[in-house]
């Protein structure tokens, strides 16, 4: 007889405000519901404020992606007035965004994903002792090294933005601040040191060698080639991940979305696709189509918002909380973002599939999407960004770091959109301005795609679908579920960080 039970899992390490409900039959997930339990409401907060206020408010949505939201807000305002940002403004904006990416990718990979290999669930695994030595929470040698090395890279944002944290240096038309060449020369040293560490520790080889890995067979050959490859974080991800079966977990719908990102300057040695370094597109399996921004919509059938038939394009969407009615049908504060009416996953793997990357296209054809491929794409994304970062930094320095801004004029009326790739995937800000004030602001975050609930047709969101068929060996420690969810790198709650008392500790009481 089939044994069915419901598991409610507060995935508190993924996000304090994300909960999963799983239906498990004979130890395998047969249905899943992902609930965002916090109303964010930034869109409502912005309505009625000054046209430029999104530049200051939206970076507070996320403590990790603040530069990303700043960039998206600035691009939305660029679009409203139709301004063309000068080349050095484009380069410096891009560099700041890429710094956030290469820091986030490494921190997620090592501090949030690989750390699960030190989970006691694997205590009988032959690689467990090595995993603990490397990735034990707050103590593993790789954990400490990753924190130490990734702290320095944000100095580049501080130089470009003139301030850290919460730099608000991106404005419509470019940058509000032009860094000095002498400061940018210092950035070159910081960037070079980060690349050297990344190659030694994370890749175990040069970026050029990694870029030659263009198929599953080439990946196997790379792994066998040298001890430094096997001992790197990528090497360990592959060795342990394959042994734990992560290349067979977390398939999902098999649809992928990238808005495209990192506009190419008019004159540059960097090469991209469609005027961007990161290509835009939509893929069904390995088959890629051009992106149509009009095909994006948000459904709220299963979300706690006022109802609409089908889905609305974000330029027409609303964020009106509606927590009553249809109890049991609505279960999340996250809306269901959809493309061509269907779900799509976004993130580093989607970027690589849409770009036609030969390695990830081959992995997709042979293995389908899976948790290991997602994390491999994330942890190797810096290898795709670091060389171009050096190109753009050198181009800015060579041109004297001048001409970073053109005056866009007053912003009184109009509408626009900023669409980029955040570290976690597709991010869009849709804005409408009337009489110099924000009339409408809609934001779709990457987690709005990956962590979406069911849509108007009852179709599961990407990671809900990815969980189907997952074996759960221990309901009290569902490490398999954690691997899958974290391979999407969900982000729901990092706008609020209070210090919470988790257990009794001493304190000193003072009089206010």
């Amino acid at each position: 007889m089939t044994v069915r039970k419901i598991l409610d899992i507060p995935v508190n390490r993924v996000e304090g405000d994300l909960e999963l409900r799983l239906e498990v039959a004979d130890g395998v997930v047969v249905d899943a519901w992902s609930a965002g339990t916090m109303f964010r409401g930034f869109e409502r907060l912005l309505v009625g404020r000054g046209a430029l206020d999104g530049l200051v408010v939206t970076p507070r949505i996320c403590g990790i992606c603040s530069t990303t939201h700043l960039m998206t807000a600035a691009k939305a305002l660029d679009d409203v007035v139709g301004v063309t940002v000068p080349d050095n403004g484009v380069r410096l904006r891009n560099l700041a965004l890429m710094v956030e990416h290469i820091q986030s990718d490494v921190r997620h990979g090592i501090l949030m994903f690989l750390v699960d290999f030190a989970n006691p669930a694997y205590r009988d695994h032959p690689l467990y002792e090595e995993a603990v030595r490397r990735y034990a929470p707050l103590a593993g040698e790789a954990i400490i090294e990753a924190v130490r090395e990734t702290k320095r890279i944000i100095e580049i944002i501080a130089v470009i933005g003139g301030q850290w944290p919460h730099s608000s240096f991106m404005v419509p038309g470019g940058l509000s601040y032009a860094p000095q060449v002498t400061e940018l020369l210092q950035c070159r040293h910081v960037l070079g040191a980060y690349r050297a560490w990344y190659e030694r520790r994370v890749l175990g080889c040069s970026i050029e060698r990694w870029q030659a890995v263009d198929s599953l067979a080439a990946l196997d050959a790379w792994l066998d080639e040298k001890a430094s490859h096997r001992d790197s974080d990528i090497g360990f991800l592959l060795r342990f991940g394959r042994a734990a079966g992560l290349d067979r977990l977390g398939g999902g719908h098999g649809t992928f979305l990238s808005y495209g990102s990192l506009d190419l300057p008019g004159e540059t040695a960097a090469q991209g696709s469609g005027g961007q370094l990161i290509a835009a597109g939509f893929a069904r399996g390995p088959t890629v189509e051009a992106l149509d921004p009009a095909a994006i919509s948000e459904h709220v059938a299963a979300s706690w918002y006022t109802a609409s038939d089908g889905g609305l394009h974000p330029s027409e969407g609303k964020t009106e909380p509606y927590a009553s009615g249809k109890e049991g049908h609505r279960y999340s504060w996250v809306k269901a973002a959809r493309y061509l009416g269907g779900p799509a996953e976004t993130g580093p793997l989607a970027e690589r599939v849409v770009a036609g990357d030969p390695l990830f296209t081959d992995l997709l054809k042979r293995q389908g999407a899976n948790a290991l491929a997602r994390e491999l794409a994330r942890l190797t994304r810096p290898a795709t960004l670091l060389p171009t970062m050096a190109v753009w930094l050198n181009e800015v320095i060579a041109s004297g770091a001048r001409d970073v801004y053109v005056n866009p004029g007053p912003i009184t009326d109009g509408s626009g959109v900023g669409m980029i790739q955040a570290a976690r995937g597709a991010l869009g800000h849709w804005i409408a301005i009337k009489n110099g004030r924000i009339d409408r602001y809609q934001i779709i975050t990457p987690t709005g795609w990956n962590g979406s609930p069911r849509d108007s047709g009852g179709v599961r969101g990407p990671w809900e679908e990815a969980l189907i068929g997952t074996p759960v060996a221990d309901a009290d420690n569902p490490v398999e579920v954690g691997h899958i969810i974290r391979s999407f790198d969900p982000c729901l709650v990092c706008s609020v960080h209070t210090v919470r008392k988790g257990r009794t500790i001493g304190r000193v009481r003072l009089e206010a």
Binding site: R60, I144, H497, T498, V499
Partner: protein, 142 residues
């Protein structure tokens, strides 16, 4: 040259449950600070404040706290108190406990004295003013 004391205010001014740090920052930013005291708007950052802490002789964090005392009551915690709250792996919701825990292992240069002054939110204006005064007092303490 002595290392400065830094008052680092952390939180989200758009969330009433987490706006203590920004309100204290706003109050102190409008006043003359004692010599050797620097003020930092730490915003939403956690580990990314490592570079701000390094180089300081003392780092006085100001942030909202939960569960230590009734709202409005001032709480002061030492480095080990806060570090002890870091449990399990780092995540998007990781905050100051991880920074306090990891700092001795990743700090470049001499370790600063660390402390956290906070209160449960929402906090009234008198509490904000009291915490600002206390932060200054701790920053200049010999």
């Amino acid at each position: 040259m002595p290392r400065p004391a830094r008052i680092i205010c952390v939180g989200n001014r758009h969330h009433p449950d987490d706006d203590l740090g920004p309100r204290v920052h706003a109050l102190l930013a409008g006043s003359k600070l004692p010599d050797g005291v620097e003020l930092v708007d730490g915003g939403l950052c956690g580990l990314d404040l490592l570079r701000v802490v390094e180089g300081a002789g003392r780092a006085v964090f100001v942030d909202a706290v939960e569960g230590f005392a009734p709202p409005g009551e001032v709480v002061m915690l030492g480095r080990e108190d806060v570090a002890a709250l870091a449990e399990g792996p780092w995540g998007h919701d990781a905050g100051l406990p991880y920074l306090f825990h990891l700092l001795p292992q990743v700090c470049d240069g001499e370790m600063p004295d660390l402390m956290l002054i906070g209160a449960g939110c929402p906090a009234g204006a008198a509490v904000v003013a009291g915490i600002a005064a206390r932060a200054l007092e701790e920053a200049v303490r010999p």
